[in-house]
Structures are given as structure tokens and as C-alpha cells.
């Protein structure tokens, strides 16, 4: 389990990084924390000629706060978020999600940007960021920049809207009002495992935003507006059979066990949010 030979570059600026990526090398890959790419390299499932490391790029490891948004650099680690080293768009949610990813050794290296770009259906940030309505800032060829809403970013299992040579630089999350609530419930085999089912919601009575999202569906996270409406109107999750019906309407290939775990995850995400009070 040793990777095939590759070159490693550690550019010091975003321009240099883009230059390396655009240089037309046969196969050039970005490496952030290496916690997903590393295993694929070792298994020789990924065999890039060159790796471009993001670790030395100053802008990507910073967090910023504006009146309306929180911005997290793509190379910020799960551990820093877990430790509260990042502003929260809604109190406690980012820390909670980060702390439930893998175990500390992985969180020390793995990054939020790496996780989003890897786009594993069972990963945590793709679901959490969909629920939070995040926008991803992407830097492309010749310094161009574009913004992609999270719900359009992940296009399927391990597929994203990123084009060759593009770098995710920043995750921008809108701030929520003081009365906003969140819930996040992950079902997994053991502490630190990838999820078998995730349900997340964010509800802000002031802006009348309410999203209910399901993760670990086998593809991109599923947003379920009808369940969100019900939650916003009644303050409670729908009954189990209604949740299942709604999920099946969106994705008919969910197994009975998967469906059950999804539905339970939604109910519990709401119950736990209420018990926080």
C-alpha cells in the first residue's frame, strides 16, 4: 500500500498554485489534509503525476466574520472548527458537526474544503453546509472567481461543480438570528465512522428560512421542503411514516433499513434541538 511515484509542489501563493494546476501536467491533483486523498493514493486508486499542496497558502487557512456572513478558508481543519477557533453562524452547530467527524488524528489534518471537494455522500460537511445554505467561493483559471451555492455544488457521489484547475478557497455561510435553531443527528456504526444516515435542519423564524436535509443517501444531500414546512409550522418533526413517504418520493431506491434510519435521524435531530432549550 504505497502510492505510485508523484511530484509534490508546495506553492506559496494562490497564483502559483493555479499556475501549477494550469500548467497542463498530465494529471495534477490538489492535496489539502490528505485524509481522503491519502488512502486513495496508497491504494493506487488515484495516481496523479503531481500533487499541489494547499497547506502553505496563507489565505486558505483563515476565518473571517462580516455583518451578514461567516467565511471559512477551505484549508481550515476540522479540529480548529471543533475547538471553536472559527466564528459560528449559528451558535454551536459547526463545533458539533466537526467534533463528530472521524477521530482527532483525522480532524487535525482533514479540512472543510477537502471534505466538500471530495464529496463523499456519507461525509458530514456536505450535508451540514447544505442545511446552512452555504456558498462556495471558487478560484479558477487566470484569477477568475465564481460563487456556487452548496446545493448546486455537489452533483452526485464524488462529483462536484469544480472544473479542472479550480480551487475552492472559501466557504461562506449566512449568519442566523438569535432565535434560530439547528439540529444535526448522525447515525453511524461506531464513534468516528462515516454516517449511515444524517439528518440536519436549520430554522430561523425571523427570516422564515427553514431547511431539512438528509445525508448519506448515496448521492448528493437531499433537501426536503415539505418536511421543512411541516417543521416550521408545527415546531415538530412529521410522524415516521410521513417522513418515509416523503423520502421515498424523492428517492425510490432507499432500502427499508436506510429509510428507517433517515426518518429516525430527522425525528431525533428535532427532539435534540428542543432538548437544548
Amino acid at each position: 500500500m504505497k502510492p505510485a511515484p508523484f511530484e509534490l509542489s508546495q506553492p506559496g501563493t494562490l497564483d502559483d498554485a493555479r499556475g501549477l494546476l494550469a500548467a497542463g501536467d498530465a494529471d495534477c491533483r490538489i492535496i489539502a489534509g490528505g485524509q481522503s486523498l491519502g488512502p486513495m493514493l496508497n491504494l493506487r486508486l488515484a495516481r496523479p503525476d503531481r500533487l499541489v499542496a494547499l497547506s502553505a497558502l496563507p489565505g486558505l487557512t483563515e476565518c473571517r466574520e462580516t455583518e451578514s456572513h461567516v467565511e471559512i478558508g477551505a484549508a481550515v481543519t476540522h479540529a480548529r472548527i471543533e475547538d471553536g477557533d472559527c466564528p459560528e453562524p449559528i451558535p454551536g452547530m459547526l463545533r458539533h458537526v466537526a467534533a463528530g467527524i472521524a477521530y482527532r488524528a483525522v480532524r487535525n489534518r482533514g479540512t472543510i474544503g477537502g471534505s466538500l471537494c471530495h464529496a463523499d455522500p456519507a461525509a458530514d460537511w456536505v450535508t451540514a453546509m447544505t442545511a446552512l445554505g452555504a456558498t462556495l467561493l471558487i478560484s479558477g483559471e487566470a484569477g477568475t472567481r465564481r460563487e456556487v451555492p452548496m446545493r448546486d455544488f455537489m452533483q452526485g457521489a464524488y462529483r462536484t461543480a469544480l472544473k479542472p484547475g479550480e480551487i475552492l478557497t472559501t466557504v461562506r455561510i449566512p449568519r442566523y438570528s438569535a432565535g434560530a435553531r439547528w439540529g444535526y443527528y448522525k447515525i453511524c456504526r461506531k464513534v468516528g465512522e462515516f454516517a449511515d444516515a444524517i439528518s440536519a435542519f436549520v430554522a430561523d423564524p425571523e427570516t422564515r428560512v427553514c431547511r431539512v436535509v438528509f445525508g448519506s443517501t448515496g448521492g448528493a444531500p437531499l433537501e426536503r421542503p415539505a418536511l421543512a414546512r411541516q417543521l416550521a409550522e408545527t415546531g415538530a418533526a412529521a410522524p415516521l411514516d410521513e417522513i418515509k413517504k416523503d423520502l421515498l418520493a424523492a428517492q425510490s431506491d432507499l432500502s427499508p433499513v436506510k429509510l428507517q434510519q433517515m426518518a429516525i435521524a430527522h425525528q431525533r435531530s428535532v427532539q435534540e434541538a428542543l432538548s437544548h432549550d
Binding site: M1, K2, P3, A4, P5, P39, L43, R44, Y103, I187, R189, K190, V191, G192, E193, F194, D196, L240, D241, K244, K245, L248, P256, V257, L259, Q260, Q261, I264, Q267, R268
Partner: protein, 817 residues
């Protein structure tokens, strides 16, 4: 015996040992037994080896670096079953790739057995003509680094003619199934049939219970995988093989046979070994290939197994299927048991333990601690396209115990009694000891029912039922489960001979001597690979010689330095190596007294040993004085001195060959989350009796570690294959091992019934705790799920299996879908 010092050690990296790395509160010494010797038998002392193991100073195969050493990587079969049409070596590296064609002087691994019906398999160490499982070695490639060796391995082209894969053990028994070994004409390694007659049981049964049970294929996952480094030592004219093994002397025999070398030309050294669990008690094909290439090329060659190789080619243990019919009276007392056991052996028989061991133990141990006298058991050990089954901690007994203990609870439910009560009635009673059971196992001593009583008391069975009812009313599902077993430990010559093995253990030998400065050296051909034998056999020597274990140096695992032992397996190390050290140390103590008597001018009977001194009344000489007289000042000794000196090698086996039986009851309380299918272990109690506890601290570690592995078996671990025999669990993301958060806080209690047949009353302890957890936990799950009339009979009891069972019984839920 060679005792010269071997210079390879001088080139090991030397790092200064940090002095005070042990955290405060690390257990201090305490003698828990009535003994004058503070580090003797019964002392709770920290392990001698912990300093190096915990500070990163241990020396594993992976730490050794020899001059000119290269690394090896294997080309492994990507398909489960197929004919090899052609192997093409990369032109640029033709001299760095070796296949079976090159190794025409190597004999295949072949484990004979004298049992009737046995079909023997030839396992070429690099596949010949056919591949029979995904991961089977086809070629070995060498290069200065592992990465480069893997680069070469990628370029080796193998053309196959795929054959239909045989993945399912039941299918293997059908007459039109694909054949794993064509020349057999069937897929049966072995069939056995035991029948004591069931007519009476059938005629009198008030209750008949029929069940099928399934256990998963598992991987043992020692922290250190397998590793082998071989080189030819021109001076010694020996092939020197550093290998991560539990059984160095056996590996020497196996390597010699495969390579056609005299055993004197092979030296096997097991350095520090990071866990074995049985994985490292057999000769592995890689060990042979690496040794052959080292000899052929004149270079030290190392292969270090990586986790993926382990999870694919090492997916080799535990897979059983049981069909059970139990006949019981209206109180749940078993009158007879009818069983059919199918063991999924995989493609090859391991050497030396053969493909027979599992079935022999399954058939022989299914009745376990219970006294019933009517029993029929047919076993089928079938060949499939998977790695060859290897004995793992507990061997067949975790499966056997699971099947028996679930049957016991099913009977209890059928007769409406508390399962622990039904267990007690069925167990061999204390006043029946010693007891010969229906399969002629000789249970030497103990009070089995008392272990149930104690476990039930400790876990609070009485108050639990009320708590369970209250929880149910709130939609919480708690359950309690028990599991009782006996473990045949240190079974010896006759037992292994009856299993038809090619290699039968006999007398275990050990050497004990006094150095010129009065310290002690102990040498044993057994091995310490995490189970603490290095410390416990020092304690045995300490017991006789009264010298602190800090002044007792233990050397193990090197065929060049130690007396013969078949090694560490079958929970035999403490009984056998401990017994041998005890005998040698006793003899040495006698000689010390004779020397001391001369120096103190009294008779040997007047000498008493204490604190490393020999006393005659108040007068005394130290061991250093005694040793000095023998080694440096023989002029002080009389002419008729015992010329055997202060070095003793002795051989030992217990008074009986049939093994000494430890036993235990495990009890668990679980909560089943009926929404998610997850199981939380709320409490876990072990009550065990393993005879004399030589070191209570080590024993506790063995119990916790074993139980942790048993919980892996019960809830998490499972090797999955697709219909083509492709393993789906080839990384630790897919093969789930329990972590600290999944383990309960174990509570442990003991009885100490000394075996009448072993030195110091010791019984084996290594395997026991891994046997019972599946029974206790799944019984607890089934107890929790009684309101749903759901019963699980398969392990691991995953959330998926539990939810599927629940969803299948819940019409409301089904209607909703």
C-alpha cells in the same frame, strides 16, 4: 544448544530509554497471595516488557535494518478462482520477480492429518496452475524500497482463465458445486460423525428447540501485521529468519521442510511481536517465499504485511454454521442435542494445525460445560475460494459457545424460566467433579453453577427485571444475557495426536541459570507477544529462587538461544512454559542450597532461600557469593561438587494430557435502540476461574482484551464477499473493529480453583474471555426484543440485521412503506 551471542543486535538503533515515562499511578507491586516472595507467583507486578513497549523502544521485524536489505511486495490474485494461463515478468526487472517456476526446489505447504476422510491440500507458496482465493500470492518482487517493489509488482502481467467461484459453504456441499481442488472429487476437507444415541432424549422430550446459527468470517487484526526478514548468515551457515510469530521452533521445522534444509541450517528469531491471536501460529507462504529469495539472491529480504493484505489474504477465521435440535424436559434440562456444523475452511489447510482443528473442536466442545449425556454431531469442513481458516483466540469455541448459549436461552423461553436458572440446572455440578462429559472431555475441577450465581448477583439480575419493565413502559428496550463456557487449556500430547495433527506437542522445555554476578537468566522457546509471558515466567523463577524479577532476564523466541518448545497457542504458555521454568528453577534452587551448604558449613536441608540469599539460621551467603564460587573461585568448592553447575534445562508436561479446564460466566445488560438498531452495552460482568492467578494484573488485561475482541465478534466484525468472491471489506473503513467508545467498563471477579494436575495449580487464561461475549450480548439483545418476538441468530448483530428483523415483524411500519 547454541548460546553464542548473535551480532545482528549490535546494529540496531540505540535510543536512550527515558527514565520516568511511566505515569504516576501506574500499578505498584502487591503480592496478593500468601507468599514470602514479593515478585513471585500471585504478585500484581507491572510487566517487565512494558518499559520498552510503551516508550517505543521495542524491536519488531519492521524496526530491523540489515546492510543491503531489500523489501518485498507480492503480486496477489485479483480473482477468487481461475487457472493461471501465463505470467509475464517486466523485462527490465526480470531478475527481481520470482514465480513458482523459479521455485521448483520448494515443497508446497502440506498439512497431513491421520483423521479418516481427510483430504489434504497442497499450497504452493506462490500459486501453481490455479488461484483459489483473492489475495493468493502469485509472484514476489524485490527492490530497495517497498514502494519500488510495488511498482514492479504492478507491471507483472498474469493471464487467467476464470473458473466459477465457490463462496458459500452450503453450496460447497452440493454435488454439482465447482471444485476447489479438482483431484478430490468433492469439496470436503473432513467430515466427522459423533453419535451417542438420541432415541431416549427424543422419546422423553417435553420441549424441542430447532435453530440455525451463523457466525461471520473474521480477520484477527493484531496491531502489528505479519512481517518476515530473512538473510543467509555465511559464518553460521544458516538461514536466519526474523519473523513475527508465536511459534519460532515450529516455523523452523516448517521452513526446513519446505526449503529442503536441515533444521540446523535454519535459525528463526521472533523479536518483539505486536499481537498474534493465532494469526501467527501457522507457517505462512510469505515466510517461505521471502526465505527462499533471501537465499537465492544473497540479500536480506523483508516483507511487511500491510493492513490491506491482512484484510484480504488474512480474512481467515471463525466462519461456522450450526443446525441445532435440542431436546429438553419441561424444566429446560437438556436431554439430548443434535447438531450439524459446517465450517467454511477456505482454500487450504494451514500447517501445522490442519483444516481439522475447527471441526474437531466444534464437535468436541459444543456440549461445553453442560452435563447432558446424549449427543449427536456431524461436522462438514468445506473448501471454498477464500483464505484458509486459521485458529483465532478460542479457536472454534466462540462459535460453539454462541450456538449453545443461544440454544440455552431459547429453551428457557420455551419453558418460561429465567435463563440463568436453566443454565445452572444444566451445568456440571461441583460435586460431580472431576467429570467426564459426553465427548469424553475430562473436566478437572471447578464449580460451574457458582459462576452463574456470582455473575447474576454482580450484574443485579433480581432488580434488573423491574428496571426492564419500567424502561419498556417508556419505549426503552433493555435486555440481560448470560453465557457460560469451559475452555480446554494447555491440552497436550494425546489430544493433539487424536486430532491427527502432523506435529504434536510433548514436553515443554526451559532453561534457568545463575549468572556469575548472581542474577538469573531464563530461556524458553515459547514466546511473549503481548500476553505477558516474559513477566509471568520470571515470576515463577522468582518464586523458587527468591530473586526479584528485575534481576531475572528472560530470553524467548529464538531457536538459536532457547530450548525446544512448540510455542504459544491453545492457552498453554503459562501452564507449559511456566511449569517447565518451575521445574528447572526448583532443581536450580536445590543446587544453590548444596553450594551454599558447603560455603556455610552446614547441610543443604538447613538452608532457606530468601531475598536472593541462602540462609542457615542467621548466617547467609548471597547468590552472588554462590555464583562466584562456581564460576570464578572453584577452588573454594569441594572436589565432589555437582559438575552440572548452576544451569538447568528441564522438560515438563502436566500430569494429564487432556488439558485443564478454565470456566467463566459472562453477563451483559444492553439497550437496543429500536429506532436505529444500535446496541449499547450498559454493563458487563465476567466471573471466571482460571486456577492460580500468577499475575492478577496481567490476567485482568487478558480478560479485558479477550472480551473486547469478543464484542467485535458479537457486534461489528464481518468479512463480506460478493458473488464473485471479491472481498468487500478490504480497509478498516469497511471492516469495523470496536474502539474504546464501543466497549463497556468490564467488571471482573474470580474464583481460584487450583488444578490438581499442573504445577502451582495453574490453568490457561489467554483465550477464554474471547469465547463468551457473543452469547451474552446476543442473548441480551433477544431478551430486550422479546416484546417484538424478534430473535437474532446471526453475528455480528449489526444495526442492519436488528432493524431488518424488527421491520419484518412490524406490520404498521411495513404498511407505511
Amino acid at each position: 544448544m547454541r548460546t553464542d551471542c548473535y551480532d545482528v543486535y549490535s546494529i540496531y538503533r540505540v535510543i536512550e530509554t527515558p527514565q520516568d515515562f511511566l505515569p504516576n499511578g501506574y500499578p505498584t507491586r502487591r503480592q496478593e497471595r500468601d507468599s514470602a516472595v514479593s515478585t513471585g507467583i500471585g504478585a500484581r507486578v507491572a510487566r517487565k516488557e512494558d518499559r520498552r513497549l510503551l516508550s517505543g523502544q521495542a524491536r519488531f521485524v519492521g524496526d530491523i535494518k540489515l546492510p543491503r536489505q531489500w523489501e518485498a511486495a507480492f503480486v496477489r490474485s485479483p480473482i477468487a478462482h481461475g487457472r493461471i494461463l501465463k505470467i509475464t515478468k517486466p523485462v527490465a526487472f526480470a531478475d527481481r520477480v520470482f514465480t513458482v517456476e523459479d521455485m521448483d526446489d520448494v515443497r508446497p505447504i502440506r498439512a497431513e492429518s491421520s483423521l479418516p476422510t481427510y483430504n489434504v491440500s497442497d499450497q504452493y507458496v506462490l500459486a501453481k496452475d490455479k488461484v483459489r482465493f483473492v489475495g493468493e500470492c502469485i509472484a514476489i518482487c524485490i527492490a530497495p524500497t517497498r514502494a519500488e517493489a510495488e511498482d514492479i509488482a504492478e507491471q507483472v502481467q498474469v493471464e487467467f482463465d476464470p473458473l466459477p467461484p465457490l463462496v458459500d459453504a452450503a453450496r460447497a456441499r452440493e454435488s454439482d458445486a465447482p471444485l476447489v481442488h479438482e483431484d478430490w472429487g468433492n469439496n470436503l476437507f473432513l467430515t466427522t460423525d459423533f453419535d451417542s444415541g438420541l432415541d431416549e432424549a427424543r422419546a422423553n422430550a417435553a420441549v424441542v428447540i430447532e435453530r440455525e446459527y451463523t457466525t461471520a468470517r473474521q480477520c484477527m487484526n493484531p496491531m502489528e501485521g505479519k512481517g518476515t526478514l530473512a538473510h543467509w548468515d555465511e559464518k553460521a551457515e544458516q538461514l536466519v529468519v526474523h519473523t513475527s510469530t508465536q511459534v519460532p521452533h515450529l516455523i523452523r521445522t516448517g521452513l526446513s521442510e519446505c526449503l529442503g534444509l536441515d533444521q540446523g541450517s535454519v535459525r528463526v528469531i521472533a523479536p518483539d511481536v505486536g499481537g498474534g491471536f493465532g494469526y501467527k501460529c501457522v507457517l505462512q507462504p510469505e515466510e517461505v517465499s521471502v526465505s527462499w529469495v533471501a537465499r537465492k539472491t544473497g540479500r536480506p529480504i523483508r516483507w511487511t504485511e500491510d493492513r490491506r493484505e491482512h484484510l484480504v489474504a488474512g480474512a481467515n477465521t471463525r466462519q461456522h454454521h450450526y443446525k441445532i435440535t435440542a431436546y429438553a424436559d419441561d424444566r429446560g434440562r437438556i436431554l439430548g442435542l443434535d447438531a450439524e456444523v459446517t465450517v467454511d475452511i477456505g482454500a487450504y489447510s494451514v500447517w501445522p494445525f490442519t483444516a481439522c482443528l475447527e471441526a474437531a473442536q466444534a464437535g468436541g466442545n459444543l456440549p461445553g460445560p453442560y452435563a447432558f449425556q446424549h449427543y449427536r454431531c456431524k461436522t462438514y469442513s468445506v473448501a471454498t475460494n477464500k483464505p484458509g481458516l486459521t485458529p483465532y483466540r478460542g479457536v472454534a469455541r466462540p462459535g460453539v459457545c454462541f450456538a449453545m448459549e443461544l440454544t440455552m436461552d431459547a429453551i428457557a423461553r420455551a419453558v418460561g424460566r429465567e435463563p440463568s436458572e436453566v443454565r445452572k440446572d444444566n451445568l456440571v455440578q461441583a460435586d460431580q467433579m472431576p467429570f467426564t462429559n459426553v465427548t469424553k472431555k475430562f473436566y478437572d475441577s471447578g464449580d460451574y453453577p457458582e459462576s452463574v450465581v456470582q455473575a447474576a448477583r454482580s450484574i443485579g439480575l433480581e432488580e434488573f427485571r423491574a428496571r426492564q419493565a419500567a424502561a419498556r413502559a417508556q419505549g426503552k428496550y433493555l435486555g440481560i444475557g448470560f453465557s457460560t463456557f469451559t475452555e480446554q487449556s494447555a491440552h497436550g500430547t494425546k489430544v493433539f495426536a487424536a486430532w491427527g495433527l502432523p506435529l504434536v506437542p510433548g514436553y515443554e522445555q526451559a532453561m534457568v541459570k545463575i549468572t556469575p554476578s548472581g542474577s538469573i537468566e531464563v530461556r524458553s522457546g515459547n514466546h511473549s507477544f503481548g500476553q505477558g509471558l516474559e513477566t509471568t515466567i520470571a515470576q515463577v523463577a522468582s518464586e523458587w529462587l527468591t530473586v526479584d524479577i528485575d534481576r531475572i532476564k528472560v530470553t524467548m523466541g529464538d531457536t538459536g538461544l532457547t530450548p525446544y518448545s512448540t510455542g504459544a497457542y491453545a492457552s498453554r504458555g503459562m501452564v507449559m512454559a511456566g511449569g517447565a521454568v518451575s521445574k528447572a528453577a526448583e532443581e536450580l534452587a536445590g543446587r544453590v542450597k548444596t553450594h551454599a551448604a558447603h560455603l556455610l558449613q552446614c547441610s543443604p536441608e538447613d538452608i532457606r532461600l530468601a531475598d536472593g540469599n541462602a540462609y542457615a539460621g542467621e548466617a547467609h551467603v548471597s547468590f552472588a557469593d554462590i555464583a562466584r564460587s562456581w564460576y570464578l573461585r572453584p577452588d573454594l568448592l569441594p572436589d565432589d561438587v555437582n559438575t552440572a553447575g548452576l544451569e538447568v534445562t528441564e522438560g515438563y508436561k502436566p500430569e494429564i494430557d487432556t488439558g485443564v479446564f478454565t470456566y467463566a460466566t459472562h453477563a451483559a445488560i444492553v439497550e437496543v435502540d429500536t429506532g436505529t438498531g444500535k446496541v449499547a452495552i450498559q454493563d458487563y460482568v465476567i466471573f471466571e476461574d482460571c486456577g492460580r492467578r500468577v499475575n492478577p494484573l496481567i490476567l485482568e488485561g487478558q480478560a479485558y482484551g479477550g472480551a473486547a475482541q469478543g464484542i467485535g465478534t458479537a457486534l461489528f466484525e464481518e468479512v463480506l464477499y460478493d458473488a464473485n468472491g471479491q472481498p468487500l471489506t478490504s480497509t478498516l473503513a469497511d471492516y469495523i473493529l470496536p474502539g474504546p467508545a464501543e466497549l463497556p467498563h468490564f467488571r471482573l471477579d474470580h474464583a481460584e480453583t487450583l488444578s490438581p494436575y499442573t504445577r502451582h495449580g495453574i490453568k490457561g487464561v489467554g483465550e477464554g474471555a474471547a469465547i463468551a461475549p457473543s452469547g451474552a450480548i446476543v442473548n441480551a439483545i433477544n431478551d430486550a426484543l422479546r416484546p417484538f418476538e424478534v430473535e437474532l441468530n446471526q453475528i455480528p448483530a449489526t444495526p442492519e440485521r436488528i432493524l431488518s428483523a424488527l421491520l419484518a415483524t412490524d406490520p404498521a411500519r411495513e404498511a407505511a412503506e
